[in-house]
Point group: C2
Chain length 283, copies 2
């Protein structure tokens, strides 16, 4: 059953293939586009595991696939990569009435909204964790071995996806994640609208809160540039370090000297993350 999704474009890449697909998402109530990289050799008789990549504010499925340079090593390691969009989209989906870039289209924050008018469409957590893998595992020659990573808002999304869903991922990592969204301006704006004013409910979507009661001790690999302009105000890796320390949760947090928030930072360290995931996916 692949008639539920249509191929948008395809490019040969490192002996494998980069494809963009459009499908109707029941979870999000709109059409969604996602990208997939299939390494050479992926075939029905030789399925490969999948790394899900969650991008940051303003991104689509395209940024990571075009800028991170991940396909070279993913091809060698035999890992597929799937990159969804960062929010529901389309004329039927409400965006930010103020037209800001840090809420609405391109800024779904990987939560399941409970408030109007967002609750109908803004269910990116459910989409990324549940609906999309079902489609991916139907469309492509892949196994149900999954890992998750992401950048900034998507780093938050990756940490929360893993911490909320024990057993679902073999490994998790993040680049410059919004580690403690419930206590920073980006998170306060988004959570206040999507989840309502009761901050106790925000804790269900905050890695620092979730880590205290995680049912699974999946090791966290986090890279953070120390020249990142958002480090102090929005990202707060030190809160993650404190929460992991208090919970005894394994965390490797690497402060990378001189690196900023850009894809030049991601490209520099993506190979380390791919090897981290490959080791867990092969175990």
């Amino acid at each position: 059953m692949t008639d539920e999704a249509t191929l948008v474009s395809a490019n040969r890449c490192f002996g494998g293939r980069h494809e963009r697909w459009r499908h109707r998402s029941r979870t999000l109530g709109c059409d969604m586009v996602f990208a997939a990289f299939l390494p050479p050799g992926a075939a029905p008789g030789a399925p490969v595991p999948v790394l899900y990549w969650l991008s940051g504010l303003t991104c689509t499925d395209e940024n990571f696939m075009q800028k991170a340079g991940a396909q070279r090593l993913a091809a060698e390691l035999g890992i597929a990569i799937v990159a969804p969009d960062t929010s529901p989209r389309g004329s039927g989906v409400p965006g930010d009435p103020e037209g800001a870039w840090d809420f609405g289209h391109g800024a779904g924050f990987y939560v399941d909204a409970t408030e109007e008018p967002w609750a109908r469409h803004y269910r990116m957590h459910d989409y990324v964790v549940n609906e999309l893998p079902i489609l991916v595992e139907r469309l492509f020659p892949v196994t149900d071995r999954r890992s998750v990573s992401g950048h900034s808002m998507g780093g938050h999304g990756a940490l929360v996806a893993a911490l909320r869903n024990p057993g679902r991922y073999r490994s998790v990592s993040a680049f410059a994640p919004i580690a403690n969204p419930a206590s920073v301006p980006w998170g306060e704006k988004a959570f206040g609208r999507l989840l309502g004013p009761d901050r106790r409910r925000w804790a269900e979507w905050d890695a620092c809160a979730l880590i205290a009661r995680a049912a699974e001790r999946l090791p966290l690999l986090v890279d953070q540039g120390d020249a990142d302009a958002f480090l102090e105000t929005q990202l707060r890796p030190e809160a993650l370090r404190a929460a992991a320390g208090a919970a005894g949760h394994p965390l490797t947090l690497r402060l990378q000297p001189g690196y900023d928030h850009s894809y030049f930072f991601i490209a520099t360290f993506i190979d380390d993350h791919l090897r981290h995931h490959a080791a867990a996916l092969a175990a």
Copy 2:
């Protein structure tokens, strides 16, 4: 003397640095932005050679630096990369009156125009071959060992820059170059306007014509995807093969099965090109 250029932005990348600079170009009569990657270890006491990358139609200095994934191996090999813009720019520079993407801004075709109103600004060959290296070699810890490569229109630019200027480059390569611009629609449109109607003058800017009388037998490395939508109508690698064969000029032309005209193609094979240039630059 670095007051003639100003730093636009800087990112740490693979232990080195990616920088964008703006300067006033006397050759082009306008402000220009270019990008430079300096590998780790490049320093006044340890200067490194430079690969010049010429991009294709519609591109700026940013496309290659963001999408090709070249910095990883360039850092390892100790090669700087400089990526200029693809045309003169700005409100004082005439563009295509029809607003097309294949002429004018973003489409300088790396020639020195002789016709009005283009002759004042459209001198991208002189800029890339002469003015920019003088600035680069003043601004950065680099040697005068230079290589040149490029994509599509920029592949044409790289081949022509090397063939017209014996001794100036240690090596040359191209991805999907417009190999025979004097006989394809993109080239006919641009050369007709920039160089005038006399096709004999076009031959001075056509790799297939230049190769017949090249004073230097610099080996050409060319990769071309066989699923490239522009292969037959605009690129004509078979004309380059015939011209090189007739002239006895060394050419390695690789037809890559299934690859198209995109940066996914370039990223796949950029490492081969970097090693080709590194070997020549070290010799």
